[in-house]
């Protein structure tokens, strides 16, 4: 019986070559998003692939991005932010724990074309752990007009590399190229108790004030995260597992 099975396999292989061979897929490496809830939901951001992070204004996209950067830079990764509309706030990044010495900030002055060229250069340079393309303030209609070949090019460039590329946008725009698409939406909760505290105007206060309105840590209360798309991985890690499954 076993001999017959082996002969059949040999016959198929001789007729069709490697077409039916299950190639061993390496285990997908991931990088933590820095937020345990997102990590448990997605398993982390895949390396060598595109992750899309989209949602409306104040949905928490920048907070998630800063958490990713903080986690990656504190773990000695070299990161880059391609800032389309020059909206990155260094003070907020430092508050979030980002090691700005390991962060390359590219300001594109509103030019989408320059932003894509800059991202392409960074991906081809290699060695970056996390590259973020921040086009969160690009209107959805402009984002949808971006031709697919850019996304295919990015996907192909980072393939088999330890770089994770995150695209922040208002609407989903990477089409089928993103291995993971996270949609953030929700309405911010308002702390009325805190809001009523500040009726008195403090005089000549120079130190940065703690804002009671938007307290740290309410991100996940007012944002909901939904995994829109996650490319399924092969259920078999190697060929022997696949053969064992087929034999059974």
């Amino acid at each position: 019986m076993i001999l017959k099975h082996r002969l059949n396999e040999f016959d198929i292989a001789s007729r069709f070559g490697d077409a039916f061979k299950v190639r061993e897929k390496p285990v997908v490496e991931t990088i933590s998003a820095g937020i345990p809830e997102i990590d448990s939901l997605t398993g982390g951001l895949p390396r060598g692939a595109i992750t899309e992070l989209f949602g409306p204004a104040s949905s928490g996209r920048t907070s998630v991005m800063l958490s990713m950067l903080a986690h990656a830079t504190t773990h000695e990764e070299v990161c880059a932010v391609v800032d389309v509309n020059d909206m990155f706030a260094p003070a907020a990044a430092v508050d979030a724990g980002v090691d700005v010495d390991r962060l390359l900030w590219v300001r594109c002055g509103g030019s989408l074309e320059n932003a894509f060229k800059a991202t392409d250069l960074l991906l081809h340079a290699g060695g970056f752990g996390l590259v973020i393309l921040d086009m969160a303030d690009v209107p959805g209609k402009d984002a949808r007009r971006i031709i697919s070949s850019w996304w295919y090019r990015f996907r192909r460039t980072v393939e088999n590399r330890p770089t994770s590329i995150v695209v922040m946008s208002e609407e989903a725009c990477t089409r089928s190229c993103a291995a993971l698409a996270l949609e953030l939406k929700g309405t911010p909760e308002w702390s009325r108790a805190n809001a009523q505290q500040s009726n008195v105007v403090p005089m000549r206060k120079q130190a940065p004030v703690k804002r009671p309105l938007v307290t740290q840590g309410n991100l996940l209360r007012f944002s909901s995260v939904k995994v829109n798309r996650q490319r399924p991985l092969s259920p078999w890690r190697n060929e022997s597992e696949f053969r064992a499954y087929r034999a059974s």
Binding site: A57, R61, H75, V78, A92, D101, P208
Partner: protein, 461 residues
């Protein structure tokens, strides 16, 4: 055979070593006025050793413009360099020390004349030995050479043996050949002036290849390359490439230089190009097994140069917060990946662990997006609180009814400067879209105290 040339009174403007290179490429510079040259194999050029010595003495008397030394020299030829040195420094004119007859020539020299540095004996030790020898009644080279070797070894040690061999003219050593100082510069004058970058790149490539080959020969690198171009309008166009890490790859230099030239093209056609670099030790770096991958220095530099060409120098780098309370005060510094030492790594690791523990405890902080420049706004105020906001420019617009508000927080600063700031800040939640819509966004707005103008500074995200 070795020839020693000694000039008792050498003018400071003259170089004896340069004079000696006219006879042999193997030159040892003992002192500024004494050199030893290896004359083996020079017979075909200069004839016998005596003819060579005569030729040296004749040429030395020539004036400086003719390559001479403008005065008499002592020349001594011997089988070993140390005997030649002793003979030339003590005897005037031309001396020929026949092999095996060194003591006949040097035997009467006082033992104080021994050049102990030639046999690596310290001056202090040599002085003590000479004092001992004088106490023993040893006065000349002949006396020292005739002492029994075993006795000298027992009483004076290995230093005594070496001094005895030196006195006998029986030392054996190689010349410490003087190497000409390496030149890390290169230049070329063009027959026809070039006004396009592409043909100029071939000139750059040639110069850079030669320069990097010189650096490679001396196992050095450079972190600064200076390029000077003479232009057709008799001006010069200078560019300097400063690198954070030493390199010596001509391809990388060429690409960086071409990118620099594209950013800063010369005003006229280029007639001549010269390149100079400061040689430094190459960068040595040992990567850890568990350290994440980082961009390689040469690729990173190239990428940064290309990005700078694309978006401008001022728009690329690492952000640095300024030491001020002024809102959104930062500068951008050059992006350099520092090689952290082990100690710092350990310290860093500890800090990372602490940060990881802290991050696990507290939720992530709230992000903020800055509008640069701030968006001028029209704000309707109801009983001192913002009620309706309308702001727009070419890129973005913010308008809606204020559903929640907090503030104001007053910040002022730099009142002694022209660019002082004084403002009241508010955090407002705007209802976006039509009435009844649940879509909200939080913005930070502020009112200038000096003119009462309202601005939207950014939004929380």
């Amino acid at each position: 055979m070795f020839a020693c040339i000694h000039v008792p009174n050498l003018a400071r403007s003259l170089s004896l070593a340069d004079f000696a290179y006219g006879f042999s490429p193997l030159v040892e510079e003992v002192r500024s006025n004494t050199v030893v040259i290896d004359v083996d194999g020079c017979e075909l050029l200069f004839g016998s050793a005596y003819q060579l010595a005569t030729d040296i003495a004749r040429r030395a008397k020539a004036p400086k413009v003719s390559g001479g030394l403008e005065g008499p020299v002592n020349v001594a030829i011997a089988e070993n360099p140390d005997a030649a040195i002793h003979a030339a420094t003590r005897l005037k004119g031309i001396t020929f020390v026949s092999p095996g007859e060194e003591l006949t020539c040097l035997g009467e020299f006082p033992i104080e004349a021994l050049e102990s540095s030639l046999v690596d004996v310290e001056q202090k030790v040599a002085g003590e030995i000479t004092e001992t020898l004088r106490l023993w009644g040893v006065r000349t080279f002949q006396d020292l050479a005739s002492l029994p070797v075993a006795g000298v070894s027992e009483r004076l040690g290995q230093e005594g043996i070496r001094l005895q061999q030196l006195a006998a003219g029986k030392t054996e050593r190689h010349l410490k050949v003087k190497q000409p100082a390496p030149v890390f510069s290169n230049s070329i004058e063009l027959d026809h002036a070039l006004n396009e970058l592409e043909p100029l790149s071939f000139v750059f490539a040639r110069l850079l290849n030669q320069l990097c080959a010189t650096l490679d020969a001396y196992a050095l690198s450079t972190n600064e390359l200076k390029v000077q171009m003479q232009l057709e309008d008799l001006t010069s166009h200078d560019r300097t490439l400063s690198l954070p890490y030493p390199m010596r790859d001509p391809k990388v230099f060429l690409k960086l230089l071409l990118l620099e030239m594209e950013k800063h093209p010369p005003a006229a056609a280029v007639k001549a190009v010269s390149m100079t670099c400061d040689p430094v030790k190459p960068r040595t770096l040992q990567h850890g097994l568990f350290v994440p991958l980082a961009p390689s220095p040469d690729k990173l530099e190239l990428t940064l140069a290309r990005l700078a060409k694309l978006v401008g120098d001022q728009n690329i780098g690492s952000p640095v917060l300024l030491d001020t309370h002024r809102p959104d005060a930062f500068s951008v510094k050059r992006f350099v990946l520092e090689n952290r030492s082990d100690g710092r790594k350990r310290k860093r690791k500890k800090t990372d662990d602490e940060r990881a523990a802290t991050a696990a405890r507290k939720p992530p902080s709230l992000g903020f997006r800055v509008f640069r420049p701030p968006l001028r706004a029209v704000v309707q105020v109801d009983r001192g609180l913002p009620a309706q906001i309308s702001a727009w420019d070419k890129q973005r617009s913010v308008y809606g009814k204020v559903v929640e508000v907090a503030g104001p927080w007053r910040t002022t600063g730099d009142w002694w400067r022209d660019d002082r700031w004084a403002r009241d800040e508010w955090d407002v939640a705007l209802q976006l879209g039509k009435a009844g819509s649940e879509q909200q966004a939080i913005y930070r707005i502020y009112r200038e105290l000096n003119n009462g103008a309202w601005f939207v500074e950014g939004n929380y995200d």
